[in-house]
Symmetry: C4
Subunit: 448 residues, 4 copies
Amino acid sequence: MAMHPGGPSIIMKYAGKDASKLFNRLHPSNVIETFLDEAHVVGEIDMPPDSAISEEEIIAEKLRIENLKRLPKVNQIYNINDFEAVARAVLPPHAWAYYNGGSDDEVTMRENHYAFHKFFFLPKILVDVRNVDISTTMLGTKTSAPFYCSAAALAQLGHPDGELSISRGCGTEDVIQMISSTASYSFDEILDETKPGQSHWFQLYVKPDRKHSIEMLKKCAERNVKGIFVTVDTPMLGKREKDFKFRYGEDGPNDDDDPITSYDDPGLTWADIDAFKKVSDIPIAIKGVQRSEDVLLAVEHGVDAVVLSNHGGRQLDFSRAPVDVLAEVMPILRAKNLDKKIEIYIDGGIRRGTDVIKALCLGAKGVGLGRAFLYANSCYGEEGVKKAVQLLKHEIALNMKFMGVTKIEDLNSSMIEKRDSYGFHRDSIYDANYETMRPIGLKDIPTN
Amino acid sequence: MAMHPGGPSIIMKYAGKDASKLFNRLHPSNVIETFLDEAHVVGEIDMPPDSAISEEEIIAEKLRIENLKRLPKVNQIYNINDFEAVARAVLPPHAWAYYNGGSDDEVTMRENHYAFHKFFFLPKILVDVRNVDISTTMLGTKTSAPFYCSAAALAQLGHPDGELSISRGCGTEDVIQMISSTASYSFDEILDETKPGQSHWFQLYVKPDRKHSIEMLKKCAERNVKGIFVTVDTPMLGKREKDFKFRYGEDGPNDDDDPITSYDDPGLTWADIDAFKKVSDIPIAIKGVQRSEDVLLAVEHGVDAVVLSNHGGRQLDFSRAPVDVLAEVMPILRAKNLDKKIEIYIDGGIRRGTDVIKALCLGAKGVGLGRAFLYANSCYGEEGVKKAVQLLKHEIALNMKFMGVTKIEDLNSSMIEKRDSYGFHRDSIYDANYETMRPIGLKDIPTN
Amino acid sequence: MAMHPGGPSIIMKYAGKDASKLFNRLHPSNVIETFLDEAHVVGEIDMPPDSAISEEEIIAEKLRIENLKRLPKVNQIYNINDFEAVARAVLPPHAWAYYNGGSDDEVTMRENHYAFHKFFFLPKILVDVRNVDISTTMLGTKTSAPFYCSAAALAQLGHPDGELSISRGCGTEDVIQMISSTASYSFDEILDETKPGQSHWFQLYVKPDRKHSIEMLKKCAERNVKGIFVTVDTPMLGKREKDFKFRYGEDGPNDDDDPITSYDDPGLTWADIDAFKKVSDIPIAIKGVQRSEDVLLAVEHGVDAVVLSNHGGRQLDFSRAPVDVLAEVMPILRAKNLDKKIEIYIDGGIRRGTDVIKALCLGAKGVGLGRAFLYANSCYGEEGVKKAVQLLKHEIALNMKFMGVTKIEDLNSSMIEKRDSYGFHRDSIYDANYETMRPIGLKDIPTN
Amino acid sequence: MAMHPGGPSIIMKYAGKDASKLFNRLHPSNVIETFLDEAHVVGEIDMPPDSAISEEEIIAEKLRIENLKRLPKVNQIYNINDFEAVARAVLPPHAWAYYNGGSDDEVTMRENHYAFHKFFFLPKILVDVRNVDISTTMLGTKTSAPFYCSAAALAQLGHPDGELSISRGCGTEDVIQMISSTASYSFDEILDETKPGQSHWFQLYVKPDRKHSIEMLKKCAERNVKGIFVTVDTPMLGKREKDFKFRYGEDGPNDDDDPITSYDDPGLTWADIDAFKKVSDIPIAIKGVQRSEDVLLAVEHGVDAVVLSNHGGRQLDFSRAPVDVLAEVMPILRAKNLDKKIEIYIDGGIRRGTDVIKALCLGAKGVGLGRAFLYANSCYGEEGVKKAVQLLKHEIALNMKFMGVTKIEDLNSSMIEKRDSYGFHRDSIYDANYETMRPIGLKDIPTN
């Protein structure tokens, strides 16, 4: 029970009941065989299936289904933020709380997005832009666009097809999907959806027992995964208060809950990276780098790529925005002639084609989006995923024309300006979607 | 159909109906003879005129006429922003959406205005300011004030007289009007309104077939046009979501809509500018320059002027404000002794006489206003245009007295201070007029 | 009629009626004998007095008297902003519009106050502060505090005793009053209120006919005025739109109104200052200086003092805040060893003892407050003026103790820090009092 | 009466009545024997006890008791701000006004918190963080965490057990409590609660008669107090307007009230510090330092520690935030090799574990929290105090793991970045709790 990433509370809550339906929605189908052996089977439950689903959960599900009927047509979605607005309306409250929340006061989560507002363009004119090519190569794999679908946990919370429909949509649109270690479907179930020519990456949480990781690396090789992204920013689960309030409800967490919920082994070190490099021929990337010194260390350790990331603002609050770290690290790499030795990716806060172009101008090889695809998939399944990709592709191509640029590699740092001060103008749609943190509710107590 | 700047959707929508009334409101009278030959006539429509006007459009028009009756007197208008407030109330929704909107998240559109808030004055005292002269010369033409009426599409959306009444108002007040390539009235219809001594410029969109452009240059010479402004920031139409939401309605755009809507040939290059220079003796300016390097290129190519402009924030979002580009480029030109070789104009975000004075202090030869005249004309026709000019002239003259300056050429960069941070104080009237971007509507779905 | 500072409209409005009551409320008793000779008497009016007072004015006056009954006790006023809150409630609308308004978008008016938020203190500890002396000397006159009551027009709009009760309050509290050229009471009426030991300054608007100014200088000498403050920022009246909307009402201004309303001769130059210096032994100050170069010119011309001022944000919008100009000019003066040759004052935006201390730290000899005294006097007459002085004196003495300083001259620039960015924290009371600019009203027209 | 820290008004208000109950709630039990001798007994009161408690006070107390019944469970408190939200709801209005208020416009009070938003982290990855130790040593005393409970007056206003339950909670959690000179309970009563191994510090206000201070130092030695914190920022009480409005009510303060309320002798100087050092072997710290020069002076005078503090924003408004002073002074100390000669603490605005870590990165030895413990204690007594400590410890340990750091001494200035501009993102919970300053109420007077 102490090893359960979701803490012991939830296990105690459903003890003695058939929690299969809820369990299946939150875990991949192979989770039991992977983590629990025969010794853990203690007996049969004498009670109808689904008895553990609460009245509230049934009502929430009914509401969600009702709301889904009134969904806007997918063609009415004009931008990535629109998906979030729809998701906010149709997701069950606990799924919305889990997806949209960040840690502590959510400063970093919002900073991730608004940091892009510090960057302005210096476009060129009178360039022949009749033909614009936005395809690129990431970790040696050709792909149709300079972005990928990043790993995000529990896609089934938002849509019954979970990561499967995300995979289908990405396949159709030739966009790389990074498979999460904490996906709702199993690694194999997701890869079974692979379309011809489609590429996947794998996001790895390293458990205390390294055998499990080594096995995963082998499995990735077998299934032709094109990149391993070792996540290094999650020795413990961040303090995500919106999520906790739903998870623990009126009782609050008990004393055992918080300290135990870890995703990565907190003992993970550079030595592990070296070890993984030895057993695998697949390119290995480190996801969760947040300072230039660690990018240089990654080069020393022969790592193929890093993702500048703060886990979408869900771990250490007051981490810097990845785009800011990118703007700091690239000149350092160039000065040391190391910028061709490693690929730099960022994720966090990306909503517009212009955000992607900014990252590319600064020197990123590509960018990842997580929540964007969760929201698109939750609302529309595969159709939503495809639409999200198309919107971003269209915005990237259109704005590259406005920049006077026809190929990804022509974007460079002379076409962008970084300002010290934040953007002055609110992103109204983003703000409208943002769920403000609230002080503890006091039921009927009137304030002074 | 694929060449239609407004996309194929709108053509399909009215296929088989008499759309004359709507068509005539949106296009100049010569558009058919210019772009369609006899081969396109496929037959006669057997149905009463106006049958394509929808019920909603009829109601909107009635409402507009009703609202026009309650217009404030033009003398109650105290500033340019007041025109926008009235326009917001009396324009039909689709016209308001088309005029007021920008691209993407409208950061640049708002930045254009608020960037002026970074500049503060250092006025002189105890100067004899009994006589102040605000007249100046632009592209060799004497004019009564250091601003001009910039090109803006479809003036007839807001007022039946469209560009004609704008021309009349500008003529009376001796202000130069730049005629739009996408005006509601034809080039000739507008020029037929010319008053004695009045000057016009022409804004040119270059089509793939250059013959059309060359013909326009000749026509400009015949009709004594004093300047050609080649627009270079519109290889495609910007992603103007407010406008799209009205244009495509509940169905959203179909797959063919977006990519096709281009105004300029995306193949337009500096070679075309050189070619235009050869066939025309009229001064040629480039409209839509956004980086210092391109101003220097313009000097090299012998261009007479550039307009630092981002198309009113309707093309590339996160373009810099023209006044910021101006503050960057003028010292570079002066350092290279090129500041007398080319005239620099800006447009975008100008609402007050102080905005104009700021641009002149920084080194602009003059400034253009687009929406300001559209709003004034939409509300009051010619009277509104005249009032807009008078308000600006009065504000410029009054504030030049406060600056301790009696002639345009005495304004210089020692009288202005640029701050790194944005102005702190909201422009309340501007903000009240600004139509906030909204996430997609979800009809009756309650948010969590 | 063309010379009337309030414009011709108001004269036309009351033509043929007995406007005595209104006239007397707005003008000093000697204004007719000073500006109009016998030739202007055209006959008698055959109609009861007060016939020109409109129904609305009678209702507004009744309301004001009603509100005055519910005034908070003067002891419940805790700070200068509280006076403004009360004034906002009890002043007739046109008086509130006239007093509280600024020019254009009121950026400078608000900047004046908020610029103080850029300055933070570096207080000393463990200094014996049992005895704190806040008295000082300004233009050679000993006074009890480092601030003075600045000139402000038309005190009678807010209180029947107008400048008389201001003079009485200042006299009791030993604070210098600067008498306005546009006071509601005459120069002599105000000076007749002088208490033993009380000092006055005079604020001079220079009219085209210099004889009038020379006469005023002589009169000042006769009545023992201790300083002449020549105002130089008002060649025309600023564009104060809140005030205009009340003044011109539903018709808007007519064409003759605006351009004529001037306070100073726009032909006023440094030669006039030299001339005034020759005919007067009273110290002469220039009020309205806004750039360092002009402070240096003032030293050259032997002027005794300058007031860094933008007329309370009522003239040139986007003028810099006086405290910012002060922070710029003092180091320049010190570097040239001129800081003892001239006294520097500032006015504009001062509400707290800490504001005064900031100005003194930066090098100001003293500061002026205008609206603060108008509001205090409007609400409570002499008692209000005394309370305003006491509050400021208390705040200055208290905060000097917290600064570890016992005498005005011990305040210096090492005790203050200027930040580039504005203060982050709203001044909630100030903001609540601020009357937001509004776009033109559209009666019953619903906005889109 | 003139020596009463609360001013004479309150004494006059209850003159002739039995005010025992109110008196006992606000004063420690030994206050009479310490400050008043037999000569002050003037007779017996012939009236039932509690007769001085007003009807309003009885109602407020009833409401508080009612609200306390609906308290959220302490486990539902997720962060320090939540305590404030609950306190705001359940505290009697006068207690809330006293606790939450600051001086003047409360700029410094808010700045204290938001200044932390200027600092962002540069965390390390791939460090073994299985074991994190957050214990440290402060003034030579081992303690379980790098923060302490700072002195705050009148804990009994919020909870009947006042400082006693704070002491108990701190004892259980091994956190140092600094005992206030103006505690509701007496020095001895609080120390009698000491648990085995628990440490206390004492906060000293120095009275004009130094004998009293010397006696306190001796008493501290007798009771094994581990540190003396001489407060030096309170020669007078700050202008805390929220508190005053409750204290003086509808009549406002009378003329004698304000100037007398002092806590420290305003004649306190460095010579006193030297004298205290001579009579005491306990480490002596100065609390209330606000400039680097005074930290250097403290080193010269052999002081063991300073607390960079502005008294929670309750004294000089526009004092700088302690974390900003810290960021300024530490590099100076290091450059002079003095950083090991003195311990630097800060208090003010701390709400999160990340705030504590920021201070430690910059070089602080520890941080103090005042209001946080007052609020926790007011709502939940000892349980609340323990929960507050646990939350902070958990946040510190968790975020140190995210920083890639296992010991307090490994936190350093290379792991933090200071920005010139304020954080852009509102702290929504903090803001929701903040009680906005309001202009004076005008009962039924409608504003214009």
